[in-house]
């Protein structure tokens, strides 16, 4: 036996200081972020990382010391994420999300969203015409507890009172309660449900969406019957623009996932799912925020505004805002 100690021990002794140096840097980045490193440390980080990667491949070939190989493997893994992860802080991520990712993702899946829109429109029209033809069909589309008095048995005056904030609402003046009640109202639930069920059967999305918008159609028909159309839309639209849009966008996201499975295009089926659901995930997360905005409008703003023209003005400005946002935001690259 010629050697006094294993070659791998010598190999380790020559390099250990560099490994330890990288370990300290990686630890620092993981706990305090990349900004905690000085300029020199930043410069040396990738060099040390490459050193460890090459040590790892040498160690795998020559070292029988399992502890060293494991150590290098773990260190290389941690350093790999530090070196190759996007270097962004939480505010940067948020800004990026609102300025680019969300509107871009929406534009990217505009096909499914348009499909969702078509289903919604169709449902509204069908329910509307059916209820206009026969008022009893109202109950086909609207569950009794959801209607909360707004059904064909209610008098025109009662309906008007609800629309114009004239009723003695139990949450009267309690903006928070209104906000919450609205957030958990039918639409937000249907929207998220649409995203969620899109994962499995695409058809269910269509069904849910159809049911929800049929409800709107029936509701509209009832009020039209009593000549309250103008008031009704002024009640719905200020928050409804945002909210119904969010429902449709959410359903579009759900449809995207389902369609990615059925029509993977040139990608493999799993890869197609991954790529499309990431986009859909961004869209769904964005629409959660749209629901929040709609609830804010409903809870804090709309209750304060009683006259019909300003309600329409509000509705129009939200419509303008969203079309500008989805049409224009994040177009420029960079």
């Amino acid at each position: 036996m010629s050697a006094i100690e294993p070659r791998s021990a010598q190999f380790r002794r020559e390099r250990e200081a560099r490994w330890r140096e990288l370990e300290v840097l990686v630890q620092k980045v993981e706990t305090r972020g990349l900004r905690s490193l000085s300029a020199e440390q930043l410069q040396v980080l990738p060099i040390l990382y490459r050193g460890v990667i090459s040590s790892l491949s040498v160690a795998r070939a020559i070292s029988l010391d399992r502890n060293v190989v494991r150590y290098l493997e773990a260190l290389a893994q941690r350093a790999y994420f530090v070196v190759y992860s996007p270097r962004r802080t939480a505010p940067e991520v948020m800004t990026e999300f609102f300025r680019r990712s969300f509107p871009r993702a929406v534009r990217e899946i505009r096909g499914p969203i348009l499909l969702a829109f078509a289903i919604s429109l169709l449902a509204t029209l069908i329910a509307y015409s059916m209820v206009r033809a026969d008022l009893d069909d109202y109950y086909l589309f609207v569950a009794a507890e959801y209607a909360a008095g707004r059904d064909p048995t209610a008098s025109t005056e009662e309906l008007r009172a609800i629309l114009m904030n004239e009723d003695g609402d139990e949450h009267d003046g309690d903006a928070l309660a209104n906000f919450a009640a609205h957030l958990f109202s039918n639409n937000a639930r249907i929207g998220l449900l649409c995203y969620a069920v899109g994962i499995v059967p695409v058809l269910l999305v269509g069904l849910l969406l159809f049911q929800n918008f049929a409800l709107l159609g029936a509701f509209a028909a009832l009020h039209a019957e009593r000549g309250l159309s103008v008031e009704m839309w002024s009640w719905i639209l200020p928050h409804g623009v945002t909210e119904l849009l969010a429902v449709i966008v959410c359903a579009g996201a759900g449809l995207t996932i389902g369609l990615a499975w059925f029509f993977p295009g040139e990608r493999s089926r799993t890869r197609s799912l991954v790529v499309r659901s990431r986009t859909a995930g961004v869209v769904a997360m964005g629409s959660v925020l749209m629901f929040l905005i709609a609830a804010l409008i409903e809870g804090f703003f709309r209750q304060l505004v009683d006259d019909i023209p300003s309600r329409y003005l509000l509705a129009a400005s939200t419509a303008l805002f969203w079309s500008a946002y989805f049409g224009l935001a994040g177009r420029r690259s960079g």
Binding site: A3, A74, I199, V274, V282
Partner: protein, 336 residues
């Protein structure tokens, strides 16, 4: 691994009788990710138990946060608004807890920190915001909706029939068990987002057992002795040809166990001495094992450089075929 090891060596209960049967590396599911540098990194996939306990910890934390808000709020709000307020907080946590933490802590939530697991991109790319959103929004579908239906079916769809509770139970069960049905332990959200949950790497560099300087692994009693004393044992070539890499690394594990009983070490020493036909029986077991380890490693690493990789003692050896069959190698009992 170590508890298994100790149990086997110390001999509690019905431990398997052979060293090899117990000490082998447990079959760990791994995911290989090639780096741009051309070296493949092998990640250990987080087990179902890790995943479940991480998720439970997060749920408990969400519960505690809700409770905390409930205790803080009464001074500010009336009782009826309190419930609404809590509902809002729950909605916020439901939507943003997991995504928020995974964004801030690089793919980790408090539960994942405690279970030492981490979300990474399945292809090895950077963990993107989109992926985090996609994998966490599906929780709505996988856990929250069935959970809510289970409690109150009417909350999701009005007029939910009575059996909807059972349906939700099965639903939650199917998606809850989904990770156990695929080898990479992917949740539905992981499949969709292209992510995977792995054990967070913990680099721990212990002392080199093969290095010339005495190590801390030596027992206190004999530590100084080794430092001053020259090598007590020497081994001949044919004695070192008996074992392979596998046995060497098992021995490494044994020597790294701090609390190994002397009796156990003596058992292993005797067994090795018998097997290699070592003339001077006895001697301090730790000194013998450490020196045997060092000599064996030097020998095997040199062979490795020459391109001869002897995996274990059963491997066919051109120079000197192993004269002992499988049966006789098992005779020595670690529990002696």
């Amino acid at each position: 691994m170590s508890s298994k090891l100790r149990r086997a060596l110390i001999g509690e209960g019905s431990a398997p009788s052979t060293l090899e049967g117990v000490l082998g590396p447990p079959p760990v599911a791994t995911r290989e990710i090639p780096t741009p540098e051309g070296v493949t990194l092998t990640f250990e996939i987080a087990s179902g138990g890790d995943r479940a306990s991480g998720f439970l910890i997060d749920l408990v934390l969400i519960g505690l946060l809700l409770l905390g808000c409930g205790f803080l709020a009464p001074q500010l709000l009336s009782f009826s608004s309190l419930l609404i307020f809590l509902q809002l907080v729950f909605f916020g946590l439901r939507c943003f807890y997991f995504s928020g933490f995974e964004l801030l802590l690089r793919g980790r939530t408090p539960g994942k920190l405690l279970t030492r697991t981490q979300v990474i991109d399945r292809q090895g790319g950077p963990l993107r915001v989109e992926a985090i959103f996609a994998r966490n929004l599906t929780r709505e579908f996988e856990h929250f909706i069935p959970f809510i239906v289970l409690i109150n079916g009417g909350a999701i769809l009005p007029d939910a029939p009575v059996w909807s509770g059972w349906f939700a139970f099965v639903w939650a069960g199917v998606f809850g068990l989904f990770p156990l049905l695929n080898p990479e332990r992917l949740r539905l959200g992981d499949v969709l987002a292209g992510t995977i949950v792995v054990k967070a790497p913990q680099p721990i560099l212990a002392d080199d057992l093969g290095a010339e300087a005495p190590t801390e692994d030596s027992e206190e009693a004999s530590g100084e002795e080794i430092a001053s004393a020259p090598r007590v044992h020497s081994f001949r070539r044919e004695q070192l040809e008996r074992y392979g890499i596998y046995e060497l690394q098992v021995l490494e594990e044994v020597l790294r166990q701090q609390k190994m009983r002397r009796k156990t070490l003596i058992g292993i020493r005797d067994r090795i001495q018998r097997k290699i036909g070592y003339e001077q029986r006895g001697g301090d077991p730790r000194v013998f094992l450490e020196e045997f380890y060092r000599a064996q490693r030097i020998f095997l690493e040199e062979r490795l450089l020459l391109g001869e990789k002897r995996e274990d003692k059963h491997a066919a050896d051109d120079a000197q075929p192993s004269r002992e069959g499988r049966g006789s190698t098992d005779e020595g009992d670690a529990r002696s």
